[in-house]
Symmetry: C2
Subunit: 206 residues, 2 copies
């Protein structure tokens, strides 16, 4: 009897959902949440103001700038970034505890954040979302009320650059096309299920 | 616009379904067939006699011993083996044509055959089937009418040996438990879907 085969321990995955601004990272992760599957969804800490519809501890952990600076200083953040003047960070302890309890951990990050995680954990599972084509991405960015036309231009330029490095940085690329959200989420679920059957599982230790 | 991302060509996969005798390779591949998905299922050539319920060209390509020897000699078989006195082989041209037409190719092979394919194509996708535990495997082998008790002993010993090398040879390990055939097939489908989203696709050229 080979216990390594018949009694294989499930190795929890560190899953990063990334992609350009406007691709729908938040929407995809929200739909994954709604399906009620046994993942730990990372709640990002941020120093930016809470918006009316947002819930503290669910959408983000809202902290003061002083508290955010303290977290950085005491190395409590796995990754942190200043994105268009807004500070966001991943609490290390939250991720460590979830992995230790055996849960797959899901976090949404911009491409720079995904790169940081890859640098820390070679065995993280990095998924890159793309729209069907560039036109779709530009249209989505324009529909967002938060961005000025100049900001949209800036983001599109940035996306073009990000695309260049996508293939070497990410493990998988999933299309999140208009009206096909569930197809994208199904595909992500397939990827996670497949990864759990690998003979050489990804081992992430914090 | 990055055509490599927004317009990625689907790279066909060379998929090997393998595992020990009695694990249910044929049953799994048969169920995959029944689902009517766009795969090419390899029809193995064999020199063994046709059994009453078998259809030539569907279950196997039945050839004479002389014809089989000629195929080996003229290098028309990608892989061939003498399994318990029965000769079986994979016609090279059949696989090449299917891949060229863009279809994923599925073949069932014993562990030795899987090893040969890995030697030829580093980028083949190798899936190893296991039962829930060793007891389940022994029971299934005993239920087969084709094997004597001695043959069962021999096979169980062989499986114990095969298990040792499973992790380095195969990419994925899928449990095919009693009454869970569709779970096994679903998982294989998830693996195939996931593999098609890889940023670095497996490229197999014959």
């Amino acid at each position: 009897m080979q216990p390594n085969l018949y009694d294989r321990k499930k190795e929890p995955l560190l899953i990063v959902i990334s992609g350009p601004s406007g691709v729908g990272k938040d929407t995809v992760v929200k739909r994954m949440r709604e399906r009620g599957l046994p993942f730990h969804f990372v709640v990002t800490a941020t120093s930016r103001p809470q918006r009316p519809h947002e819930i503290d501890g669910v959408d983000y952990i809202f902290v003061s700038q002083g508290e955010f600076d303290r977290m950085i200083e005491q190395d409590e953040l796995l990754e942190h970034a200043d994105v268009y003047g807004q500070q966001k960070g991943i609490p290390r302890e939250q991720v460590r505890e979830a992995l230790e309890s055996g849960l797959d951990v899901v976090m949404r990050l911009d491409v720079q954040g995904a790169r940081t995680i890859r640098g820390l954990f070679e065995e993280a599972l990095l998924i890159f979302l793309v729209t069907q084509d560039e036109e779709e991405l530009i249209r989505r960015l324009k529909e967002r009320e938060t961005d000025t036309p100049e900001a949209v231009e800036l983001r599109v330029d940035m996306v073009r650059q990000e695309m260049q490095t996508m293939e070497e940085l990410f493990d998988y690329c999933v299309v999140n096309a208009d009206s096909q959200l569930d197809v994208a989420v199904d595909t992500i679920m397939d990827i996670i299920n497949a990864e759990h059957q690998r003979t050489k599982p990804r081992k992430v230790r914090l």
